[in-house]
């Protein structure tokens, strides 16, 4: 998995690409979130457009990011969730936890609202 970081004034957008499946990915993702918090970014959008699948460990990574940001008073939201990931979120009932949007702009607006 690779992470590309884009930033607006108050929101960081993480463009993930590749399969999200734990192991080294977990550390990379956690470090990225930690770094963003240090820089003052507490609101993060995770773009899953180029993530073909997430396994249970990958879900754990997203949850860790979500919990960390929430503790800081921020939020982690998802965009471009593919059908396959949507179904795993539904099965695990995590669809009720993660806010997700089909467009990046909608997600950005949701933070300023």
């Amino acid at each position: 998995m690779k992470i590309k970081i884009r930033k607006t004034d108050s929101v960081a957008i993480l463009d993930l690409s590749g399969k999200l499946m734990g192991g080294p990915d977990a550390d990379v993702f956690k470090d990225t979130i930690k770094q963003l918090i240090e820089e003052g970014y507490k609101n993060v959008i995770v773009n899953l457009e180029h993530v073909p699948w997430v396994n249970s460990t990958g879900l754990g990574i997203l949850i860790a990011g979500y919990t960390t940001l929430k503790r800081e008073g921020g939020a982690l939201k998802l965009i471009h969730v593919t059908d396959r990931i949507e179904s795993i979120l539904m099965i695990t009932k995590l669809g009720t936890i993660f806010e997700s949007y089909s467009e990046e702009q909608q997600a950005l607006d949701s933070f300023s609202g």
Binding site: M21, G22, W53, N55, S56, T57, I63, L94
Partner: protein, 275 residues
């Protein structure tokens, strides 16, 4: 049947996904269902690598994919110390929802129709998963086993009618098995029925135990279901059919094996359609 063996390291997990997807594509399964099966296979392999083999590279995880007439089976074996699947809590309960781990088995059970765990005597855990798939029938081959001759019959694609196919005249078991294997491959059969000569009281006769051994041998060679079917009366019934058809005794002898196989197969098909 397809088997992959990966070292106990998570970087190989995507390979299980790739292989599973390829296997499902080969089996003609649509992509949505293939995704589910792959999801379960990867979760099984993840558990095997992380919890079973404790991420020790030297310990292998074997994943076996099988296609039968009506299901896809995925088995995952590790070389770890085993675990108790019943002690894994429900990850969708409110208290567990935000936990970072513990979803693997739950996902497997959600997307597959059957998930079983077995602690192997040789060490390690074996997880067997199955998903029912409607492959839309396929031909069934029937074998009427005889010591010197084997009668063969074949069903139509829909599994409704049985037709005599011919006979195998081999005495050595190895040759008989090879001939049945060849007939199964040539006709792309999805299942084999072997006529079982029970005694009139329903006991297993001596010839029946030979048939059972033959069916077991077939099972080892082919990855399609091999079933045995009570053939009582069918040989006499088929002889009767031929007498009615006006064949002489000598001609009858030549075709009776395959006709007997057809009669056995027809009774199997009829019983199956009543289910």
């Amino acid at each position: 049947m397809l088997e992959v063996s990966i070292p106990g390291s998570i970087e190989y997990l995507p390979l299980v996904d790739t292989v599973c997807q390829a296997f499902c594509r080969w089996a003609g399964i649509d992509s949505e269902v293939a995704d589910q099966i792959a999801m379960a296979a990867v979760e099984g392999a993840t558990n095997a690598v992380v919890h079973g083999n404790k991420c020790q590279r030297s310990k292998k995880v074997r994943v076996l994919f099988e296609k039968t007439r009506d299901r896809i089976m995925v088995s995952v074996a590790d070389e770890g110390e085993g675990f108790d699947p019943d002690r894994v809590p429900d990850p969708t309960e409110a208290d567990n929802l935000m936990k970072e781990s513990g979803r693997g088995i739950f996902i497997m059970k959600q997307v597959m129709d059957r998930v079983e765990f077995e602690q192997r005597e040789t060490g390690g855990t074996l997880v067997r998963m199955a998903k029912q798939i409607d492959f839309g029938g396929g031909r069934i081959l029937c074998v009427d086993y005889g010591h010197k001759r084997l009668g063969l019959a074949l069903s139509d694609e829909m599994g409704v009618t049985a037709q005599p196919l011919g006979k195998i005249e081999e005495e050595a078991e190895e040759d008989q098995l090879k001939a049945v294997e060849k007939a199964a491959a040539e006709n792309e059969v999805s299942e084999i029925v072997v006529g079982l000569p029970l005694t009139m009281k329903g006991h297993v006769s001596r010839s029946a135990s030979r048939v059972i051994a033959f069916a077991r041998e077939l099972k080892k060679r082919l990855c399609i279901p091999i079933v045995t079917w009570d053939e009582r009366l069918s040989t006499r019934e088929s002889e009767q059919l031929l007498i009615e058809a006006g064949l002489t005794r000598s001609k009858r002898k030549g075709v009776v094996d395959s006709v007997a196989a057809a009669v056995i197969l027809q009774s199997y098909l009829d019983a199956r359609s009543k289910k």
